[in-house]
């Protein structure tokens, strides 16, 4: 646990100085806050002795004149204000800074994750970790640097002051503090146990809301509104029962504080007055104006000290209360810290080689007896014993049903996953020998789900090559049959792309994504079902373009339509994680049952082919 704690704190980086400054200012504030009641007691005592306007500035015998005490107090208040202000500011900067750095670190980590890593956390849990959990840590950290130092200090200061100012009266608190602390501890322990349980149930409740919001059409179609209401009501009631139980315990907190403050007050009044009476004596004297003034003097306590003691008492008990609150917050944030640390400690399963190759010589791809599992512990192999040999510049088609392993095969080439057994070679070198960036720059993948990012067409194309000229971009668009898309827009390459490319149709997105991949000028291009929304004619033109303009580039095409891969140099039929057959269109049409089946389904009536 301590290690995780340290790991998270290490993200504070440039805000470290603020994190260190904060407690210092807080100590200053606390010190002044404790000293002030003491001086105020003196102040009040002196005021009572005032007789003439002159006596504001002069006192007979010992003591400080009222006026000067007022000035000192004023000064202390100003310094205390400044300390509090600056401390509050540095605390904010430090804690928010830590949160900001943590978010950045998590995001960077996320980007370094392989898919195997990502699969281990769900999207929603990653989002929660980066928002709610970090927020909890921010609050806890702020509390810690502001109050963890300050509250115990206040406690000690105040306790010392009670002895300094109140003599043996201080023992009242020596007795009270442990009792209150024990009471608070018991309350927290019992309540926390219930709260942790309830929070888990709370997640379940929220999940049920989420299901209803996104599945409302199903709920309404099956007329399950009442059923869902009842389900929700039951879950909500169960949580309420638990919460009420916990809150009843927490509700003891205030009365406990009241009791302890009241008890200390009553003890101070009873014992304090007794002490004054027993040890001191009442004295009257005539002041300058000839008036008779009387007070209890000579005892171990004065009336002024008595009121100061009451103030200290409240301070001591309040600090205890605050300490207990911090304990609760820290305990609650522990869970969050654990979840954040989990992501930070997760090792990216795909790492760069120590002495990597930066050059990919050609577009040869070889699968040498490759087997692959998505999870080490799972029994089922997603791919088993795959042997494929692709020569640079070849056009290869891959066909197979969902779950047959087509996408898994191509994912291994760009090292989105690592093989479990065997090896994948690109240009005669194991893919693991290459620098990841170099490898991926040379293996372009156009995915099934085509994602454009908000920006302009140009900014999206430049994902492929940051320094691409307009000419190069238009050339790539031409090959990908995307020129008409760009030209149809008034602003050409500068046209806006909305989030997720919402203002482009599926086919347009696919063509732009292909252009984006061409701009990378890769040795190997993989099209993963990426022309599904393009009509057959355009599909053919794209393939023709790729073949004629980029003859040395290896082209691997996954397709549902036979027409997309008919003229491939070799077609690989995948079935259930294995290679079922490899051959050309004509060969497979003669010999392969799967291929025949698909072919005849797609050409049942024949059309004009």
């Amino acid at each position: 646990m301590f290690k995780k704690f340290k790991l998270i704190l290490s993200s504070v980086r440039e805000y470290k100085k603020y994190a260190i400054l904060t407690p210092i200012f807080m100590i200053g504030e606390a010190g002044l806050e404790c000293a002030m009641p003491f001086l105020m007691g003196m102040f009040v005592d002196e005021i009572k002795l005032l007789t003439t306007p002159d006596s504001f500035f002069h006192v007979d015998g010992s003591g400080i004149p009222v006026f000067y005490i007022a000035l000192i107090l004023l000064g202390m208040a100003i310094i205390s204000l400044l300390c509090g202000w600056i401390g509050g500011k540095t605390a904010s900067i430090a804690s928010v800074g830590l949160a900001c750095n943590l978010r950045e670190d998590l995001y960077k980590k996320l980007c370094s994750f392989s898919f195997e890593n990502i699969d281990r956390f769900s999207t929603s849990s990653l989002v929660t970790r980066m928002t709610t959990d970090i927020n909890n840590v921010q609050m806890a950290f702020q509390m810690m640097i502001r109050i963890v130092v300050r509250a115990p200090l206040m406690l000690v200061f105040s306790a010392v002051m009670t002895f300094v100012g109140g003599g043996i009266m201080g023992f009242i608190f020596v007795g009270l503090i442990p009792i209150v602390a024990f009471g608070l501890f018991m309350i927290i322990r019992h309540a926390m146990r219930i709260f942790i349980r309830v929070f888990k149930r709370y997640d379940v409740l929220n999940e049920s809301v989420q299901e209803n919001v996104s599945g409302i059409r199903v709920v309404k179609s099956y007329v399950r509104e009442e059923f869902e209401k009842e389900k929700f009501a039951n879950a909500s009631n169960a949580i309420t029962t638990d919460f009420v139980k916990a809150e009843k315990i927490v509700a003891l907190n205030n009365p406990l504080m009241n009791t302890s403050i009241h008890l200390s007050n009553i003890l101070i009044i009873a014992l304090g007055t007794l002490l004054i009476y027993k040890t001191g004596h009442y004295e009257e004297h005539l002041n300058d104006k000839g008036q008779l003034v009387g007070d209890w003097v000579g005892g171990e306590l004065t009336l002024g000290q008595l009121s100061a003691l009451i103030t200290y008492g409240i301070q001591i008990l309040m600090s205890l209360m605050i300490i207990s609150m911090i304990m609760v917050m820290l305990a609650m944030s522990l869970e969050s810290m654990k979840r954040i640390a989990e992501v930070l400690q997760e090792d990216p399963t795909i790492k760069d080689n120590n002495a990597p190759l930066y050059e990919v010589a050609n577009g040869d791809v070889v699968f040498d007896n490759v087997s692959f599992k998505y999870k080490k512990e799972s029994e089922r192999e997603a791919l088993s014993n795959i042997n494929i040999n692709i020569k640079s510049g070849q056009f290869v088609g891959i066909l197979g049903s969902t779950g047959s392993g087509k996408t898994s095969v191509v994912n291994l080439i760009s090292r989105l996953y690592d093989v479990t057994e065997g090896q994948v070679l690109v240009a005669d070198h194991n893919v693991k020998e290459y620098d990841l960036k170099a490898l991926r720059d040379n293996v372009a993948v156009v995915l099934q789900k085509n994602v454009l990012f908000s920006g302009t067409i140009e900014s999206n194309l430049k994902w492929g090559n940051l320094n691409a000229t307009e000419e190069e971009m238009m050339r790539a668009c031409e090959i990908a049959q995307a020129t008409e898309i760009v030209n149809a827009k008034e602003e050409g390459l500068q046209s806006r792309v909305e989030q997720g490319g919402a203002n482009f149709s599926g086919g347009q997105k696919q063509r732009l994504c292909i252009a984006r991949a061409i701009l990378k000028n890769p040795k190997i291009m993989i099209l993963d079902d990426s022309t599904s929304a393009v009509d057959t004619k355009t599909d053919r033109l794209i393939r023709k373009g790729l073949k004629e303009d980029l003859p040395h580039m290896t082209k691997i095409v996954i397709a549902q339509r036979i027409s997309s891969i008919e003229d491939a140099d070799q077609i690989i039929i995948m079935d259930n994680g294995t290679v079922n057959a490899i051959g050309t269109h004509e060969e497979l049409l003669k010999t392969n049952q799967i291929y025949q089946e698909v072919y005849y389904t797609q050409n049942r009536v024949g059309g004009d082919k």
Partner: protein
């Protein structure tokens, strides 16, 4: 689909607090009154300590002057309130003790009561919000972001909790204390009270200024947080693209822009929240010093002191002066402490009200209306062709008219559906459907084909009355569907959607969702019809396997099969399959097809499909374009026509 509301209420609507308090008071009047009374006792108890400290010290001085033992007997103590009591310190301590005990009991009572009331109220609030939400028309869900609805149940409800359980009692406690203290101070000295009043006004201005800034930054922070959340989600979903283009660094850069924006707002919000306490506390300290000096001046210069208790002259009564000063200063301390405590609650109040306002907006949405008087019932057929209603589940249905005069009329359900010149618009401006005429005779299979946004799904939305038509009529067995009870209309339509929504629970429970009284055997039978049985048996615990997170442990195809099984168990006379097989590849689709074919037998079916192989054997195919039917006929007819359908079929043209 209609456009999604982006704008969400960031600040509270006027009158929200009043409405919330009214709801609270209506549900828990006695608890609130008892709590309020106890709160008053609690406050009085707390204040008494100051007064009794003052009395005790005065008594000690008085005893000294009179030369008696302050702990026994009775002697005169003239209090700072202008009256004289005959007492001793022992009595004072005992009375104070009694007041304290009452105060502590009161404190316990109101804390406990409010804790319970808060939780019960939130429970009621949550439940009625959910119940109301379930009754809202689909339009609400189509026009509001899911995240925004979700955050009402999590964040907004929590801000309401904070308001009721913390901010509200604190507000009342502070208010009461300030009022009590104010009058107590008046009994001592009007001049000194004036000093405190000026300080109070100054404090209020500070609270308004800093608290206002703090709240506005907190609200901005919520906004930035939402953006960061969106960015994270987008990146995780698009991570594959980021990876294959080695775009990690650029993406981190972009994220940092949003992250820094959040940092700025969050820092400002926190700073303003943090500096409130030291500022307020030290204004309190200044006030204390000022009051003391003021008192001293009154005494020393012999200014005429005014007070409501007639505590006029201080000169020559030093012990009275001492008592007065001690009492007053303590009061001013209590005063500023309370205002300070209240200032800490400002943000909670602003945020709580904004949250409550959003929730109340949801509760103000108009629920679906239903004026139908035609009901659906199961029937048993007799051999002579007549039938009668039964409460058991049979495969035969009838419509039951419940006329105003109480008489009943039955009409057998056949499954004849007619859309007669239907116009429809989501936003009241742009027509999504224009003059659409579609009929389906009992047992026919009707296919709807067309590009995204052509209006296919809209037609099914109208048949089951997720939306109501603008013009034209929809008739079900000759009955205008507006006359049919919505629930009964929907029960008569089995729907399989493209988005398969499963619910947390076992596989069996998810299938049974179609019909709650279905037996296990019936569910398994339905699963077999949908070809889902095999894969279910391969799951670790078969039909008892728990599904969570919308069935994320299943593949898309498997989830689709489950949703078909769910429709099968519902056994509705009319089916609508909306892109039910779109995310399944052609080979798996065959399996599903066998399942759906069995399901469609003898039923009227509407099929919406992207892939034409699914619809070839339909009795009629409608090709939709921009809300209009541009071609209709059987597969063979349309192929002969050599129109859009033909081009689609031959692959010369693709649907988006």
């Amino acid at each position: 689909m209609p456009p999604v509301h982006i704008k969400e209420r960031a600040r509270a609507k006027k009158g929200t607090m009043k409405r919330l308090l009214k709801m609270l008071f209506k549900l828990y009047p006695w608890q609130l009154i008892v709590s309020l009374l106890c709160l008053i006792f609690n406050v009085i108890g707390n204040l008494c300590s100051s007064i009794f400290v003052s009395l005790a010290t005065t008594a000690l001085t008085a005893a000294g002057k009179q030369g008696v033992n302050p702990f026994v007997g009775e002697f005169a103590v003239s209090s700072t309130f202008g009256f004289t009591v005959y007492t001793n310190i022992t009595y004072l301590v005992i009375i104070l003790g009694c007041i304290y005990i009452v105060g502590i009991l009161a404190s316990w009572t109101w804390n406990r009561t409010m804790a319970i009331v808060t939780q019960r109220f939130l429970n009621d609030f949550r439940k009625s919000m959910f119940a109301h939400m379930e009754d809202l028309p689909i339009k609400y869900f189509d026009t509001h972001a899911r995240g925004a609805i979700m955050s009402m149940y999590t964040n907004d409800i929590d801000t309401i909790r904070q308001f009721i359980s913390q901010a509200m009692p604190s507000l009342i406690q502070t208010g009461l204390t300030v009022i009590f203290v104010f009058f107590t101070m008046l009994t001592a000295s009007i001049w000194m009270t004036l000093v405190v009043v000026f300080g109070f006004i100054f404090m209020l201005i500070t609270v308004k200024f800093i608290g206002g800034k703090s709240s506005s930054y907190f609200i901005k922070q919520q906004g930035s947080l939402a953006k960061v959340e969106g960015a994270i989600e987008e990146s995780i979903n698009g991570l594959k693209v980021i990876k294959v283009f080695s775009h990690e660094e650029k993406s981190i850069e972009e994220f940092n822009v949003l992250n820094n924006d959040l940092k700025y707002n969050s820092t400002q919000a926190n700073i303003h929240g943090n500096i409130m306490m030291p500022i307020m506390a030290n204004i309190g300290n200044f006030l204390y010093i000022l009051c003391a000096l003021m008192g001293a001046c009154i005494y020393v210069f012999g200014w005429r002191n005014l007070s409501v208790s007639g505590f006029a002259v201080l000169q020559g009564q030093p012990e009275k002066f001492a008592g007065m000063i001690a009492l007053f200063l303590m009061m001013s301390r209590v005063f500023s402490n309370n205002v300070n405590q209240f200032s800490q609650q400002i943000t909670f109040i602003v945020m709580g009200m904004a949250g409550a306002s959003r929730c109340l907006d949801l509760m103000d949405e108009k629920p679906e209306t239903d004026e139908g008087y035609v009901y659906l019932c199961n029937i048993i057929r007799h051999e002579d062709g007549s039938f009668e209603e039964t409460s058991e589940h049979t495969h035969d249905y009838a419509w039951k008219y419940r006329h105003k005069d109480g008489s009943l009329e039955y009409r057998e359900l056949k499954g004849d559906i007619l859309l007669d010149n239907v116009d429809f618009s989501y936003d009241g401006e742009r027509l999504v459907l224009k003059d659409v005429y579609v009929y389906a005779h009992p047992g026919q299979k009707i296919a709807l084909v067309g590009a995204t946004g052509a209006g296919k799904t809209t037609i099914t939305n109208l048949i089951n009355r997720f939306y109501d038509i603008a013009d034209g009529k929809i008739r079900y067995d000759g009955i205008n569907i507006n006359k049919i009870k919505k629930a009964d209309l929907r029960k008569s339509l089995g729907i399989v959607l493209q988005d398969t929504n499963l619910f947390t629970g076992t596989v069996m429970e998810n299938i049974r969702y179609g019909r709650l009284d279905a037996s296990d055997e019936e569910c398994i039978k339905a699963a077999k019809i949908a070809n889902a049985h095999d894969f279910i048996m391969r799951l670790p615990e078969g039909y008892n396997t728990m599904l969570s997170g919308d069935g994320s442990n299943l593949s898309q195809g498997q989830r689709q099969l489950l949703s078909i099984a769910r429709a099968a168990v519902a056994d509705a006379p009319v089916m609508i399959l909306d892109e039910a097989t779109s995310s399944i590849d052609t080979r798996t689709e065959k399996l599903v097809q066998q399942g759906t074919d069995q399901l469609m037998e003898g039923r009227t079916v509407f099929v919406i499909a992207h892939r034409l192989s699914t619809v070839q054997n339909s009795d009629a195919i409608m090709v939709l374009d921009h809300g209009e039917i541009i071609e209709r006929g059987t597969h063979e007819d349309l192929i002969k026509q050599k129109g859009v359908y033909y081009r689609l079929y031959t692959g010369a043209f693709e649907l988006e």
